[in-house]
Symmetry: C2
Subunit: 354 residues, 2 copies
C-alpha cells in the first residue's frame, strides 16, 4: 500500500531523495563510510555543503549581498537569535501576529527587545489595515504561513524597515523575492529536510556584533565568517537538504513546485467547500497552500475518520493539539496523487457516514 504522510513536521521527504539516501547510507561516494561519519571539514563534506548552498542560492535567486546560514536549533532558535543579532537590547521592534507561531516569536523576542505586537487576527481572516500600527520598530517580523492555523499572507507587508519572515512552512513552496527582505528563516523539517537544521538568509549589511548575551552558536556574523561551521553543524541534515535542493531543480524549480502546490491546495479546498460534511474556517484569501486544517461538521466522527484514514495509508491527519480536528500538510514532497487519494477517501467517508 502506498502511504501518504500528511504530517506538519517532521514531514515527508521526496521519495527519490530518501531512496538515494538509503542507497548511499553506508558508502558515500565510494569512501567506505557514511556521509554522517565524515568530518565536516573534510573535502568530501565541504563539497556537499557548498553545493547545497549554491543550489539553494540558485533556486531562490539569492545574491552575494545575502548570507545563507545552515544552523542548529530549528526556527525557534531564531525567535531568540533575530532580535539578539539585529538590534540593541530593548530596541523597538514590530511583530505582526497572524497565528500561533508569530505569537510565539513575539513572546520570545520580548526577552531582548521592546515588542510592539500587532494582532491581525480577525475571525477566520486577517485585518491587514492594522498594519498601520507598525512604524516605530527597527524591523517588522511576520509569518507568511501559519502551520497550526492554516493561515497565510501572500503579499509582503509594506514597510520601510527591514522585513523579517519565518518561512518555515512555505520556503521553496512558492516564489519569494528575497530582495524585499532583511532576513528570512526556516526550520528544515517541513519543506527542506529532517528536523534539527534551520536555514537563515540575511542581508549582510544588517549583521553586527549582536547583543552581549548572544550565544556564539547563534551569532550570525560568526556563522557567516565560518561558513556555518563555527561549531560542528548537523551534517546529515545539511546533506539531505542538499539532496532536496537538487530534487527541486530536477522538478523545474520553485515556480514549477508553486504550480503543483496551487493545484493540490485547490483540489482539497474546492472539495471541502463543495461539502457540508467538512469545513475550513479560514477566509479564502488567507488560506494556506501548505497546511489545510479542516473539521468534520459532526466532530464525534473524528476518531473514526482518523482511524480509517490511517488504514487507507493516509497518515498523520490529526490537527494540532491546540486546535483539534484534522490538518493535511501538503508540502513540496507530497505528490498530487496523495491529495487525490485524500479527497477520494474523504468522499467515501462522507458517503459512508452521511
Amino acid at each position: 500500500m502506498t502511504v501518504y504522510n500528511f504530517c506538519a513536521g517532521p514531514a515527508m521527504l521526496p521519495t527519490d531523495v530518501m531512496a538515494k539516501a538509503q542507497a548511499e547510507l553506508l558508502d558515500f561516494q565510494g569512501l567506505g563510510v557514511s556521509v554522517m561519519e565524515l568530518s565536516h571539514r573534510s573535502k568530501s563534506f565541504m563539497a556537499v555543503a557548498e553545493a547545497a548552498e549554491a543550489n539553494l542560492r540558485q533556486l531562490m535567486n539569492i545574491g552575494d549581498d545575502y548570507a545563507v546560514l545552515f544552523t542548529h536549533g530549528g526556527a525557534r532558535a531564531h525567535f531568540s537569535a533575530i532580535p539578539q543579532n539585529l538590534v540593541a537590547a530593548g530596541a523597538k521592534v514590530d511583530y505582526l501576529i497572524s497565528g500561533q507561531w508569530s505569537a510565539g516569536a513575539a513572546k520570545e523576542a520580548a526577552k531582548y527587545a521592546t515588542v510592539n505586537a500587532i494582532d491581525l487576527r480577525d475571525g477566520g481572516g486577517l485585518d491587514l489595515s492594522r498594519l498601520n500600527q507598525a512604524g516605530e520598530g527597527e524591523y517588522l517580523h511576520y509569518c507568511p504561513n501559519e502551520t497550526v492555523d492554516g493561515v497565510a499572507m501572500f503579499e509582503e507587508p509594506v514597510t520601510d524597515k527591514p522585513l523579517i519572515a519565518d518561512y518555515s512552512s512555505c520556503i521553496l513552496g512558492r516564489h519569494i523575492d528575497i530582495n524585499k527582505y532583511g532576513l528570512i528563516y526556516a526550520g528544515a523539517q517541513k519543506n527542506i529536510g529532517p528536523a534539527g537544521l534551520a536555514i537563515v538568509i540575511v542581508r549582510r549589511d544588517l549583521l553586527g556584533e549582536g547583543q552581549p548575551q548572544l550565544p556564539s552558536i547563534l551569532n550570525y556574523r560568526l556563522l557567516d565568517d565560518n561558513g556555518s561551521m563555527y561549531n560542528t553543524p548537523p551534517t546529515f541534515a545539511w546533506y539531505l537538504a542538499g539532496e532536496v535542493f537538487k530534487w527541486l531543480q530536477q522538478q523545474g524549480g520553485v515556480e514549477a513546485m508553486a504550480g503543483v502546490n496551487r493545484a493540490k491546495a485547490a483540489l482539497l479546498y474546492d472539495f471541502i467547500d463543495s461539502s457540508t460534511f467538512y469545513q475550513n474556517r479560514v477566509q479564502p484569501s488567507h488560506r494556506s497552500e501548505m497546511n489545510v486544517p479542516f473539521q468534520l461538521t459532526n466532530a464525534s466522527l473524528d476518531g473514526a475518520f482518523l482511524a480509517q484514514a490511517e488504514q487507507a495509508g493516509l497518515m498523520a491527519l490529526k490537527g494540532h493539539r491546540s486546535v483539534g480536528g484534522m490538518r493535511a500538510s501538503i508540502y513540496n514532497a507530497m505528490p498530487l496523487e496523495g491529495v487525490r487519494a485524500l479527497v477520494d477517501f474523504m468522499k467515501q467517508f462522507e458517503s459512508d457516514n452521511r
Copy 2:
C-alpha cells in the same frame, strides 16, 4: 577493503547500527515511512525517544533526581546555556583549563558570569595542585577529555560546589559516577550518534528560571518539563543515539567498552613509545584513551604518511588544524582490529621510511 575511520567527529558509528538504520530507513516498523518523517509527538516516535532515554539511564545508572535532555546545538550550545541556566548574571564560576575545549567553554561563559579560569596546563601534562585556585565559584567546570590535545583527567577534581563536565569525547567510553556531578553534557558526534544533537544530564534541584536572556530552546527546566520536545528535536539523531545505546547494552555496557577502550589505547601508546619514529608528547598519566595525537619525528613525511594511510583504508588521521601532526580518535565504535590495522601500518611505514 575494510575502511577504519579515525575522525574526531563527526566520528564513525557502530557498523551494526548503521546497517540497521539503512535497512529500516524507508520503512520504520512497517509504517511505510522513515523514522525521520514521523511527528516527534507520534506514538511511534515517542516510544523511540523514551526507550533511548531509558537505555541511557540504565547504561549510566542515572537516577530520577537527574533530568536527561536531548537538545539541539552540539556541546558548544551548552557553553552558553550552562551559566545562563545555573547562576545569576555575573556570578562567580570556576573553570579548569586543560586544553582547547575547556578554554573555549570558559571564554563563552564569560558573557554570562565572572569566570575564574584556572590553567592547569604544564608542559605535556596537567598540574593538578592548581586546583587550590578554585573555591569561590558557584560551580566548577572542567573537560575530562580534551579532543584536540589528547589530554585526559581520569579523576574528578575535588570540590564542594556542583561539578560540571564536558564529556563530549568520552561519555559512555568509561565509567562515570553521575552522582558526583551537578551536570554533564556531550555533543553526540563522537560517542553517541550523528552531529546536531547534544545530551545534558543535570541534577534537577539545580534548575531554576535561568538568566533573563536565556533562549527558550536552551532553557533546561523548560526542556525537562516538555520531555526535550519544547520545540521539534533532531529526531533522526535521537533515534540513532537510541540505537547506539542498545548496541552498547549488547556489547556488555560501559564497563565492557571501557575494557576494550583501555586495550585499544594501550596498543597504540605502547607502540608509539617503543618507536623513535613516532612520538606522543602528553604525560602518560593524562593521556586520552579516546583521542591519540602523535607526531612523526620527521614531519616532512606527514603528507606521505597521511596519503598512504588513506590508501590503506585508514581514514581521517590528520591532526586538528590548530595542532598539526596526526590524531587517531578511537571511540567506542572503533574495533580493536582497527587499531591493530593502524599499528601494523605505522610499523610498515616506519620500516619503509627509516
